[in-house]
Subunit: 309 residues, 5 copies
């Protein structure tokens, strides 16, 4: 597999990583229809933990079967499929070697009465990632929440162990709780901050939500206005998040959140592309559509990242 110049440039930013870790990043970056471009689309299916099966899969019941998602990621030419232990185990043999997988190691849970952003269980291990042939581990942090510090210490240990075995880490960084208001969860200053902290923690791939133009923190707001940091358009905000991740030295992918209309999804992707982001992580917006609709949607997303739309 000839690694493209663009992918080599990206890998070169991971200076302290061993070749095994870079090799797994390369597996993800070279996979699928965006392989070699430095762009990526990841299919994450971990909503079962947070929302339960019906809210996740009833809109498209084929999704109750974990094989469906493996096959969708392959057929749509995506870069990777992320899921918790159980679903990966359920298809790991049938799809061995067929698509890079990301073992999602913790997840929120809406049955808990603990307030939003509370700590989560770590439901699998780095050893699981190895025996299942995963290309990365995934982990969620909630910057701001009371669980934040515990989560930071958990990911420090898991990430260090994973790095020693040649496995990179994908961090889902969702600000919530603490001083973060509900509105602030999507504020551009807060999202940039959350992305930056994921980078500080040593993440290889950072996943945040697309920010809006709200500025939450008063101190930060002053700086944004004074320095005239451009955050008026979505591409500008994406660019600012990329800058906040070591000036583009880390891969950042964006999610669009809840199921929404196609045009909004395409607009988001163009903004990510134009702002220099690395791509999309798109779960409910693909697997809650019918397979046919999802394939059409993902095909257009791929084309957008290829610069064809």
């Amino acid at each position: 597999m000839k690694i493209t110049r663009r992918v080599k440039e990206i890998l070169a930013n991971y200076e302290s990583d061993n070749p095994g870790t870079k090799g797994n990043l390369a597996r993800i970056l070279m996979e699928g229809r965006l392989g070699g471009t430095g762009k990526m689309i990841i299919l994450p299916v971990d909503q079962g933990f947070e929302h339960g099966p019906a809210r996740s899969f009833a809109p498209n019941p084929a999704g109750y079967d974990p094989h469906y998602h493996y096959q969708m990621a392959i057929d749509a030419g995506l870069n990777a499929y992320a899921a918790p232990l159980g679903p990966l185990e359920a298809g790991a043999d049938t799809f061995a070697g067929a698509i890079p997988t990301i073992l999602k190691m913790n997840s929120a849970n809406s049955l808990s009465r603990q307030k939003e952003g509370a700590d989560q269980a770590v439901t699998s291990s780095v050893q699981d990632a190895l025996r299942l042939g995963c290309a990365a581990i995934g982990f969620t942090i909630y910057p701001g929440s009371d669980a934040m510090y515990d989560q930071y210490e958990e990911i420090r240990e898991l990430s260090a162990e994973a790095k020693s075995y040649g496995i990179p880490t994908v961090l889902w960084s969702y600000p919530r709780g603490g001083n973060v208001t509900k509105e602030g969860e999507l504020a551009v200053d807060i999202i940039a901050y959350a992305a930056h902290m994921a980078a500080l923690l040593g993440a290889h791939i950072i996943k945040v939500k697309l920010p809006n133009d709200y500025l939450e923190n008063a101190e930060a707001k002053k700086v944004y206005l004074e320095r005239q940091i451009a955050t008026g358009t979505l591409p500008e905000r994406v660019r600012h998040v990329m800058q906040s991740c070591f000036n583009g030295r880390r891969i950042v992918v964006f999610s669009g959140g809840a199921h929404k209309g196609e045009d909004a999804i395409f607009d988001d992707a163009r903004a990510i592309r134009d702002g220099g982001g690395n791509g999309s992580i798109i779960g409910r917006n693909s697997f809650q559509r019918s397979r046919e609709d999802a394939l059409v949607l993902l095909d257009r997303l791929v084309k957008i990242y290829l610069g064809k739309e």
Copy 2:
């Protein structure tokens, strides 16, 4: 022992498991009068921890002797007998090789002042399961409770250890505590969610209570109504739970709860069968009857699963 086509199909769903783990699943699936059908009846006797001996065994004092339950499971042609460390140790030699056993590793305790759903002690080890020749380990989780995350992390470790030794895991998944109301504990959306989380955690066999048609969670309810998910009859609800366990890729058995009338028990079993469930786990309803009555009752249950009643 010729493994039947049906059992082979079931084993094939456990893709990432080593042959030792599949072999133990096969031992359970091929045992007794339902051996080879993909259906199973398990005799669980762990009420001593939760309710004490008199509440458990006074109705049928023969049950004070652990040998009684081993012998009952064998004589009734059941698939497995599940119990905590002590009772298994008390009969493991006499009944070595005679019936697959499941080592129940944690249990609730009504002496504790901790509120329902609090964490439980892990009272035995995977090493115990090996030296006692058990075919599986069993573990209870309480989705929703404050102890939930600790329990998830406990079962992650125990299950990973057990899998490495070729031992499958049976998860008792009982929603309670947290955002789950008393009524919600049997709500179909909550039971399906609890079963789904057991699957996400990597369980091989999932044990839940039979759900009623109540819908607890407002967000979920909306989806059930919108998508017209059929949950009006018990078979429909069983079918929905099976779907929620990786579209039937995991074995699910159902319990009926407290001692009740025979007709209700038989109706439950027919519903489990008709909804595609894998069988019953039936404790108090068998061992709190006299041996004769219990054998008659279990004989009819077997016949129901064989499609003869």
Copy 3:
């Protein structure tokens, strides 16, 4: 990466392996110009240990540089590159993700006065394979030699450790020493025996030399003659070796030994193909030619395995 039907069939033979190990086998089987065909060509460069640098690389001094071999394997579209620790370390970063690598963990050494087939040092670890991102470990055994039993125990441990991390094992099986005469080292009964023992030891990929039609062992010879085992032609002998490796359930690749003429190499490859072998492992015959000549030679080998010549 859509895994081909042929590769899926091959992977299905590795029944007890975890998905990680199958995934790495898939990486090798899907790589390069033979990717997906079930055939493979591996470039091994470990002659430095056995013959020293000048005997290995003077015929084509570009080969003194480990990068040369990585690049050759990539440019020729081969399936994998095998080498000891030092050379893999010297290029692992530049070529991260670009070509599956096999960490050759032991090697003979011609400075030793110990008789041929004596034990070898294990010069790297499974942890090295992980941090370098290797797709497999490689190990040489000398069936017949006094070191044989030690080697079998070494590979038992290394292979078990590697399997637990999702890394398959390639066994170089060279009969020598003990009751094996110099002539017998290539005898068809002995080579088939050596290949079979590698399979018995749990190897995923077996590497032997192409056998001639000599029959070494008197007892064995009787059976070959009695049963009229076809070993008269090279394809027949390849077929017999494949049969000896669990009737084709294990991947077997063949080497041609010392540098020789091109026609002989092509004839060998056609025989391997026609006998149902999985491919060639070709070291000196490629890297001791000039890069241009080697690329031409490897191109023809690829075409032979593709059935085009």
Copy 4:
């Protein structure tokens, strides 16, 4: 590298430390334009955790890139560069051996609603410091805060581990919380107390803020007045802090806090020098200026410590 007499005197104060730890102190003390003088300037860049990326780097956007800071520390001839895991990883290879680095292992976080001085996550390990070639670890304590005792126990363990590997500890000691009023955070009695506790905890290098002449604690105040402890001028206060750190047996560096005017910075440095302090740790005041301005500023600071201004 001929260690100067002055540096040897300083090293001699670290009586119980192994030569590895002293060697790393020497690396820092001998580096850059102040190398050998016993004075030092350290560039710390960990504000991203506490203030987020925009507040930290928008004033000089080049600073979003971790390489910028490595290069600045080298070009300005500083003694060391301190940062959390992520930024060090992002440049550790490019700048291997080029500048001593300090791995900042914990950091505050302004998204948290926990009151100031609450505990912080430990976001890296001593093993990280070793693989990244760091010359020291850095850690923040909040004397006075509720988290104080936990922090003391954390640094006890980290520091003991680091010392065993030859790595010294830099303690950032910031009094806050508990009985410390907002005004008291800079009071000379409190700062001296905080510095002293860092020394008591076994720190090799102590970092405090420059104190003002306020006296916070009533009991202490009495002593200061009775004993006529000179704290009227900044040099006197620096001298008092040095005295509080084992009468000058420990290295103490001072920070100036938020971005401020150049003259104030130079006055501070002269006071540190004249009071016998070991130097400055200067973050925002350098990296929030343009590179040109920062180099001019740092050049003058160096000259001040060299006694030339």
Copy 5:
């Protein structure tokens, strides 16, 4: 410390190493009068183990004191000082940070009745190297000897441990025993082979004796003659050894063996320089002279490597 372009080029060859290991290589390469040139002179003092104190130090009794050698390495502007545990411990505090040290972990011993090339004791640990602040570990292998395989396995483990802590490995590779004749110990084919094996084992710095033009191995000789490998002059032989170490991707230093005349030593150094070698490791020829003579000699050696003589 601005790393020179030449040193950066050398470090870039150590692709799979972590920044800590590269940083320690940089410390050695940037030290002393040759710092930054890519050339190096190392002072090794481990003859005490092999020849006893009188044979080692009587010619210049100042050398009985380990401080003498530390000071000599510093005063002469060398790159590093290598010694066993005891001597390093005896001066490590006095000279902390003053000169990179190499912990020589095994050594021959002439009291043993075991024949030459027998195994050696490992007399210190990687943990010792850390607590003493060493920049590298050193280890001797005897390619050819009966102890060879044990030595290879020892260095595999020590080197892997050291690499994980950021410490590089220097391998002394002395062919002897086995098929190597006394004359062959300096034969160019054998020395090149021994150097190559050190590289295969993952050494960072390789130390061999300067070879003569004898060709020992019949098979190798044929290749040298056929391919007209230039080995007639010492620079040609040095060049051939460098080529044998991954075409110059590994640092190689040469020793001259027993005490000899100054002119011979200077001729050797010019040959090493002209052949592209990285430098000299010079023990007895320096410490068995008086301090004055040794300083004059080392001064001229430095000048030779600087191209001034």
